[in-house]
Symmetry: C2
Subunit: 325 residues, 2 copies
């Protein structure tokens, strides 16, 4: 591996000059620049990130914490983040938050001196470590407490979704929340529904709000089970909101297995607008989230100097109408 030193010798200058040419900072004569560039090319020099990171005492790794790597929603996010990070010379590393090994992982992140952490494991990860990371200058995203926040604003999407049920004469929507009860107040989709159900002329009945144990269990299984139980319970319903498209996949299946026709007997609306939800049968009407914007925002929040502790970035949503309503 070629070092800066070797490039310097070849070009007949000092390492500092080589550094200036490469970083583009500081004064360098055209002549020196020329020689350095030539040497870099001839020797095929590649900067050693290990060394520069040590020197700067900071790596260019952005850690992404996920609880359910298989949920395609997260993958949309990761895809966007990888793309954005690449542009800014950063890399994305994945960490699975399972069971109770959170501690060990956070410890590692400190060891690696990651430049930032994006917590996509909102349902599992309590972030009591917050302060330690801040002290080390590691940017945290979505780690409770204060700090910059990217929030997906479901208001418009939920409004349109509820309006769409109302318009088609639905009165008794169920809500497949899928997460545990104590987490419900956390989620805007659920609270919006609870607070506004009556405004849309719905008959509110808490037995139609279904909790589950996502992400311990796969989203589609949770959706299936919850819908099956709802049917078995005999509580009347004529439509279903699902917290995510994957839960909706399970709901669709449960409905199908029990002889319900969608959308004739029951309407279903999902959330996320995954790239293949138009291929569900029937094609799923769902709340679209600008996942690319969300992923980009995460990376930008970590890398941009301009982001302060109380910056908030909102991601918009809207209903995509297909054939399940």
């Amino acid at each position: 591996m070629v070092t800066k030193q070797e490039v310097a010798e070849r070009a007949g200058v000092s390492t500092a000059t080589v550094g200036r040419v490469i970083s583009g900072k500081g004064y360098v004569s055209a002549e020196a620049r020329e020689k350095v560039n030539a040497a870099v090319k001839e020797l095929n020099y590649r900067t050693n990130k290990l060394a520069s990171n040590l020197r700067k005492s900071k790596s260019n790794i952005i850690a992404v914490l996920v609880e359910d790597l298989l949920n395609p929603y997260y993958m949309h996010l990761v895809e966007a983040m990888v793309e954005r990070a690449e542009q800014q010379d950063c890399i994305i590393s994945m960490f699975a938050i399972k069971d109770r090994d959170v501690r060990k992982i956070l410890d590692d992140l400190l060891s690696y001196r990651v430049c930032g952490i994006v917590n996509l494991a909102m349902f599992t990860c309590d972030f009591s470590w917050y302060d330690i990371f801040l002290e080390e200058g590691i940017r945290l995203i979505n780690c409770t407490k204060s700090g910059p926040k990217v929030v997906v604003d479901y208001t418009e999407g939920m409004r349109q979704a509820m309006e769409s049920f109302r318009r088609t004469g639905r009165k008794r929507p169920a809500f497949v929340a899928g997460i545990e009860e104590w987490l419900m107040p956390t989620d805007m989709r659920i609270t919006y529904f609870q607070q506004n159900a009556e405004k849309y002329g719905f008959e509110y009945d808490s037995r139609r709000i279904l909790c589950g144990n996502y992400p311990m269990e796969k989203a589609h299984n949770v959706g299936y089970e919850l819908c099956r139980k709802l049917i078995a319970s005999g509580v009347p319903f004529d439509s279903v909101f699902c917290l995510t498209d994957m839960m909706a996949l399970g709901v669709l299946r449960a409905l199908f297995d029990n002889g319900y026709k969608v959308p004739h007997d029951v309407s279903v609306i999902g959330c996320d607008d995954l790239d293949f939800t138009g291929f569900f049968i029937p094609a799923l009407t769902t709340i679209q989230v600008d996942k690319k914007a969300e992923g980009y925002a995460y990376v930008d929040f970590i890398l941009d100097e301009g982001v302060s502790e109380d910056t908030v970035r909102k991601i918009g949503t809207k209903l995509v109408e297909r054939n399940s309503v």
Copy 2:
């Protein structure tokens, strides 16, 4: 951040001794060990990976190259790899291989001094850089030429799949390959089908082998389009093999949109056995691949010393029967 030096001072020993205690290599008196451990705990020492990596001139990053991050199959793999890597103190970083920026990315990987590269972008990535990486001691997986290989052996799965079509009286299976024609000889599923179709009593007709432009286009779209065209072409068929479950999703939809009943009119078999293919309508019969074993193998191949240039690890497959045949 606490350094080894500080721990050494606190424990009243040298940094070398601290190193010995922590790494567990070399002779250390019980007494010294005791003191060091105490100091480590009190000071909350965490080794600085940046420094140790520089010293060793090798990072503990395993780079994963993907072309289609949204394909759940890859995510199954990544999940397994993250799990395995964590156990061995390594981290998984994702790199998207899009368009023609491969060069830049490979260049970066050299800069980062990654300890290995797992190429999951077999359909896009020519690996002419092979030698440079080897020189640098970077382990490569699935990068053409020689080198250790993890191969998914579809023989048994394909055999059972073809047998299942035969048994149910199908004679004219189509094969939705989805990839471009020149890549077909590369893929065992396709070649197995071509070579054995007649043995199973099928009527072989090359017009039923459908190529596409995956991964440029999403798998489900490719499946949909190809199936739509097949129907439009008028070439008779009574069953469809799909290269992947996501393509099968598109095929199922195209069949549905055109009034075909599955499995009554047409049987469909997918490949991969994603965690949610049992939720397709109808539930998809598919070839199961041991994705966990595959992911583990990749990581092991990179980290294990015992792996030589010509090691080959086979991953088994088998048919999972559901309701699409």
